[in-house]
């Protein structure tokens, strides 16, 4: 079994999940190396992915992603 990366798509971005899943989308670890490739994998336009967290830490498009990591992607959100 290939180690996987977990991807959460929040705030409406779940529409880019093939299964329509908000939490727990899986991507085989050998298919993506960077955050940018995760976006491409789900065909999420860059401008829609406004906040990206890798294991809870803000990440940028070129950051590496390794199997076992959890990536959470958000559109522009606000409130408080």
């Amino acid at each position: 079994m290939t180690a996987e990366i977990t991807v959460n798509l929040y705030g409406g971005l779940e529409r880019y999940s093939p299964e329509g899943l908000r939490k727990g989308n899986r991507v085989p670890g050998d298919q993506v190396n960077t955050v940018r490739e995760v976006l491409d994998y789900f065909e999420i336009p860059r401008e829609e992915a406004r906040i990206i967290l890798v294991d809870g830490h803000h990440a940028s498009l070129e950051d590496q992603v390794n199997p076992g990591k959890v990536i959470s992607i958000f559109p522009l959100v606000g409130g408080g």
Partner: protein, 604 residues
């Protein structure tokens, strides 16, 4: 005097007398309106800052700003300023709706109320008259019943009113504004209750003058375009309301869970904005002249009710270990009906749960269980049994139980749903806020988590003081104009100064404009110094300084001393947190120095 009405109505409930006072331009130019004017008028009308918050001599200042009731978007807001029973500090809260424009409609920038009525009373105020109406029959009425009654009896009026929690002087009782807006924090409802004041109803058709109509209209159009072009203010706030934050805050590891013992919650997604949107039928609502329409109405078992806001989901949900959105909606509705601040209600219950969990207090309650919670909330509002003790807030309750460190508060005000260990600037904001732990005094959420306008490292203490001060001063201005903070998601800061100049016709050079915010901040600080607050009160509960949180917050603590040093220095305060003479002179506040002389050594 375009923008302002130039008149202040002063009412003494004890003598049933009133006066109409005029204030000079200088007064308005230095403090604008809303929060700034509220603080200034509180100093003017309160005999001494030491006045007991729930005594008849405490004073309520309702105020509007120079932009209130103009065509500028989101200008339906009003402010209430008083001394808080929960914190003992000066305290202001602002809310949207339609009451603010009605106060100006009646011809006043501010309404000052002091004294105490003999029996439960409501006020009816219009352009020509002020009526004191005894209303003992409304005693104990829930908020929706009171609103329906007032709306039916006086359909042309706008109303603020209190529920049972306010009447019973719960230290964190809220004040309702119109059908579903709220002055939530700090127990202002208790101050109305202590005066036997159930409601204030207003109507009037006057309008503030506008100095430059063409320029104002242009700015209105420009800001509407910006608001419509931002996905947040154009649609997302309307679709999901503030609850859209839950998943982000949880993934970032700053969602309070089980009285802040943890900072991530396994059930977060089930109480998120996305889940609420999917599970509950909802509609949106807006305040006066507002295109954002962030208010969510959901269909509950008893018909339409206000949907839970982000803070409520955090404090009555994850922080109690509760993951059922229907339950949170139910507790939210109960708090709204009784007139309780949902943040402090959740916080005092979480504090009780932890005390019980650790064996420090004997009671049948536990995290993650909703059993008995609805009754307990009702008991708080009615001051029955244990509810009577909880009604004085988490700090007093935890102190009585011998463990003040388990109350998650600063200066008695309960910490909102952003854990400071993963947002150090937010933490400094809680520590230094003049009304206690508050997320609305500065928009560090935007900077530290949302990346607006650009993201900075949320985990570092470095450089946060300067950023925070800038935000605090800006927000003091927004709270005084008064415009909604959500406009900050779409509008550049320069807009606000333009709006003020166009409406009032007064020139506010940039430096002077920002000095207004700083002046207001320092005036509030002087009030707190006068009543005895010291540097040691500018501090977070122990937990945040010695224990890490969950996930990305593992091992993260707040090192507040260094941030505080920076903060005081940049503010122009000495190491005890007291404004030095030069600061007072620069801000034209020297006349207030006698208030805190002798409260500490001023080494300026």
């Amino acid at each position: 005097m375009p923008g302002w009405m130039g008149k202040i109505l002063y009412i003494d409930l004890s003598s049933k007398e009133h006066q109409i006072l005029e204030s000079g331009e200088d007064f308005y130019h230095k403090f604008l309106g809303g929060r700034g004017l509220g603080a200034r008028l509180l100093f003017k009308f309160l005999e001494t800052p030491h006045t007991e918050p729930l005594s008849s001599r405490n004073t309520l200042v309702f105020s509007t700003g120079p932009l209130t009731a103009t065509v500028v978007p989101t200008t339906g807001r009003m402010t209430l300023t008083t001394r808080s029973p929960l914190t003992g500090t000066i305290f202001d809260s602002n809310a949207g709706g339609y009451w603010g424009p009605a106060l100006k409609g009646a011809g006043y920038d501010a309404l000052v109320i002091t004294g105490k009525a003999e029996t439960l009373t409501r006020l009816e105020i219009n352009e020509n008259s002020i009526k004191f109406v005894n209303c003992p029959e409304l005693s104990g009425w829930n908020n929706s019943r009171t609103w329906e009654h007032l709306d039916q009896k006086l359909p042309e009026y706008q109303h603020v009113y209190i529920g049972p929690a306010g009447e019973n002087q719960v230290y964190f009782a809220s004040v309702s504004v119109g059908k579903n807006r709220t002055l939530g924090r700090g127990g202002m409802g208790a101050v109305l209750g202590s005066k036997n004041l159930k409601a204030v109803s207003l109507k009037g058709s006057r309008q503030p003058g506008v100095a430059d109509r063409k320029r104002t209209e242009k700015i209105k159009e420009k800001s509407l375009t910006w608001l419509e072009n931002s996905p947040l203010t154009a649609s997302r706030l309307e679709e999901m309301g503030t609850s859209m934050l839950v998943n982000l805050i949880n993934e970032a590891g700053v969602l309070p869970t089980r009285n802040f013992q943890e900072t991530q919650f396994a059930g977060a997604d089930s109480i998120s904005g996305e889940s609420l949107r999917d599970r509950m039928e909802a509609s949106s609502g807006s305040c006066f002249n507002c295109p954002i329409a962030c208010a969510r109405q959901i269909i509950g078992p008893e018909g339409e009710q206000a949907g839970p806001e982000y803070e409520t989901i955090g404090l009555l949900g994850s922080n109690l270990g509760i993951s059922d959105p229907e339950l949170i909606a139910k507790f939210n509705q109960l708090c709204n009906e009784l007139g309780l601040d949902t943040i402090s209600t959740g916080s005092v219950i979480a504090c009780l749960m932890e005390l019980v969990d650790r064996g420090y207090f004997d009671y049948q309650i536990s995290f993650a269980s909703a059993e008995g919670l609805a009754d307990l909330i009702e008991d708080i509002a009615r001051r029955r049994g244990l509810g009577d003790r909880l009604a004085r807030g988490s700090l007093r309750f935890a102190r009585e139980a011998g463990h003040p460190e388990l109350a998650m508060q600063v200066k008695g005000l309960d910490i909102p749903a952003f854990d400071p260990r993963g947002m150090k600037g937010q933490g400094l904001g809680y520590i230094t806020s003049n009304r206690g732990a508050c997320h609305l005094r500065a928009n560090m959420l935007n900077i530290e988590l949302l990346g607006l306008p650009e993201r900075i490292d949320r985990f570092t203490e470095e450089g946060k003081a300067a950023l925070l001060i800038q935000q605090q001063d800006l927000n003091a201005i927004l709270d005084s104009l008064i415009v909604c903070k959500f406009t900050l998601f779409a509008l550049a800061e320069g807009f606000y100064r333009e709006m003020l100049e166009a409406v009032t016709g007064v020139s506010f050079p940039e430096k002077e404009f920002y000095a207004i915010g700083e002046r207001i901040w320092n005036l509030e600080k002087i009030f707190n110094l006068a009543v005895g607050f010291q540097r040691c009160d500018d501090s977070l509960p122990l937990r945040f300084k010695v224990e890490g949180g969950s996930g990305p917050l593992a091992g993260e603590i707040v090192e507040e001393e260094k941030m505080l040093e920076d903060y005081y220095r940049i503010r122009g305060w000495n190491s005890s947190g007291i404004p030095v003479d030069e600061t007072l002179s620069r801000l034209e506040l020297r006349e207030f120095k006698h208030y805190f002389l002798g409260s500490d050594i001023n080494d300026s």
